[in-house]
């Protein structure tokens, strides 16, 4: 009862706040019913591409026979709980938005994505003989689900443009909270966590332990077919590229490692302090074209606001960014200048 009341207050404040939400451009096919509590709906695309597909499980219903549906349902619930219990956020939009997921998307679809309205998961290489499969179903890793849902949170808050550094930050925040969903679920401290993203996605045919490593970017896989994990761990190795929206999945390794270093320095359960610093930065400080330097400066400021100037937490954030070659208050890499220079 008390939790319900708290949720109603959060829902109202989410509605009233709306300060960073320009929703006029976003189309919502699902009713944005403002209700307290989790509102999960898992659909199946039945290996087609129609979204959302056929409803397979909704809030409160018992587990389905198909475990993929349950993984999407439970993962969305765990992510919702992390944001609500730790950061007081009621769902993706902060106002109780329904959590829509679609599984079994297309055939042989090696991907999961957030399309601006819902989460979508492929089954990997399910249509190939086992000996030829490289990818398992994408719901198999809880941090993938947390990652996709966090893209929704970013859409409603900082709106980080999906291009170059702001896009890599968008990716990194998704990896951060994806990892925290997993760490919270396993009740791990920073030093107990594996800091891997997408563990379990590769089949045993691939020489790799996960898709990305926040602890050691660039080391997650090294496979004759897929190549080597291309993520840099430091600004000196920043990759300039036009592919992948300007390397958003490549350069995210840099802020990922900064978060890992800060979290390890702070110690304990990462979602409590480091996670809170990163969440408030995403919610209140970053904007569409924010850079790594902006993220460093803002997380440092937020750590000071939350835990005090020169606190251990603030020093840890500073050390985290310095560990990847970014000094607090340092010179900004101007994206406009670089764009003009390149063109």
């Amino acid at each position: 009862m008390q939790k319900d009341r708290a949720l109603k207050v959060l829902t109202l404040s989410g509605q009233i706040r709306g300060r960073r939400q320009s929703l006029h451009k976003i189309r919502f096919p699902f009713p944005r019913t403002l209700q307290p509590g989790k509102q999960r709906f898992v659909y199946s695309a039945n290996f087609g591409s129609g979204l959302p597909g056929t409803l397979a499980r909704s809030e409160g219903q018992p587990p389905a026979v198909d475990n993929t549906i349950n993984e999407a349902y439970n993962g969305a619930g765990d992510t919702y709980d992390l944001f609500l219990d730790q950061y007081g956020r009621n769902s993706i939009d902060g106002a109780g938005m329904q959590l829509i997921s679609t599984v079994h998307y297309e055939q042989g679809y090696d991907n999961a994505f957030w399309n601006g309205e819902q989460m979508v998961y492929g089954d990997g290489d399910e249509d190939l003989p086992p000996a030829e499969r490289l990818f398992n179903r994408f719901t198999v890793a809880i941090d993938v689900i947390g990652h996709e849902l966090t893209h929704g949170v970013t859409q409603f808050e900082a709106k980080l443009a999906y291009w170059e550094q702001s896009g890599a930050l968008n990716e990194s925040f998704s990896d951060v909270f994806g990892s925290l969903v997993k760490q919270k679920k396993l009740n791990q401290t920073a030093d107990q966590a594996d800091w891997l993203i997408g563990q379990g996605l590769f089949t045993s045919n691939v020489n790799g332990e996960a898709i990305r490593s926040m602890k050691a970017p660039g080391t997650a896989y090294n496979d004759p077919l897929l190549g080597k994990d291309p993520q840099p761990a430091h600004m000196r190795d920043y990759v300039e590229t036009a592919s992948d929206n300007g390397g958003v999945h490549i350069n995210s390794g840099i802020p990922n490692r900064a978060f890992y270093l800060a979290a390890m320095e702070i110690g304990g359960k990462t979602w409590e302090k480091a996670g809170k610093i990163w969440y408030i930065t995403l919610r209140d400080k970053l904007i569409e074209r924010s850079t790594f330097q902006d993220a460093a400066n803002m997380t440092f400021n937020v750590a000071g606001d939350l835990f005090g100037k020169d606190s251990n937490e603030q020093k840890a954030v500073k050390a985290g960014w310095e560990g990847v070659g970014i000094s607090i208050g340092g010179k900004k890499r101007c994206w406009l200048w670089r764009w003009m220079f390149k063109n």
């Binding site: 994505f113 992948d244 999945h249």
Partner: protein
């Protein structure tokens, strides 16, 4: 190509009748196609690339590819403006097709792919996935 290989369909379009293609016909096809296909992005961010040389394909597969290229109106498709708020974790495709007469390149996000181009992308993606065989 000789008329015997072209069949008329109810929709008024002319299509290649693959069942009647012979190796002799294939040797007469001088306008060979080279396709360069690259897929980047996606949750994994792992890029995949394949270069398809029409001259190395089986005759029927070659004709099938050429048909897909024609059906897609590929040479009329223009690269769309990249959207800085494109769907997160969706794929991005770069396709370059060269013939003896022309070369054309398009870069599209998954969201921007026209319906008529999807069969060709499915085929090319399948080629990439066959690397493991």
């Amino acid at each position: 190509m000789e008329a015997k290989n072209v069949a008329g369909y109810g929709d008024g379009c002319l299509r290649i009748d693959q069942s009647r293609v012979t190796s002799h016909d294939f040797q007469n096809l001088e306008e060979l196609i080279t396709i360069e296909f690259e897929r980047t992005g996606g949750f994994t961010g792992i890029p995949v690339r394949v270069i398809l040389n029409g001259g190395l394909l089986e005759p029927r597969e070659f004709l099938s590819v050429r048909q897909m290229v024609e059906d897609s109106g590929f040479f009329m498709i223009s690269t769309r403006e990249m959207q800085v708020n494109a769907g997160t974790d969706q794929f991005q495709y770069r396709i370059v097709i060269s013939t003896a007469k022309q070369r054309h390149e398009v870069v599209l996000t998954e969201k921007q792919v026209p319906e008529d181009l999807k069969p060709l992308i499915r085929f090319l993606t399948g080629k990439v996935r066959l690397r493991n065989q």
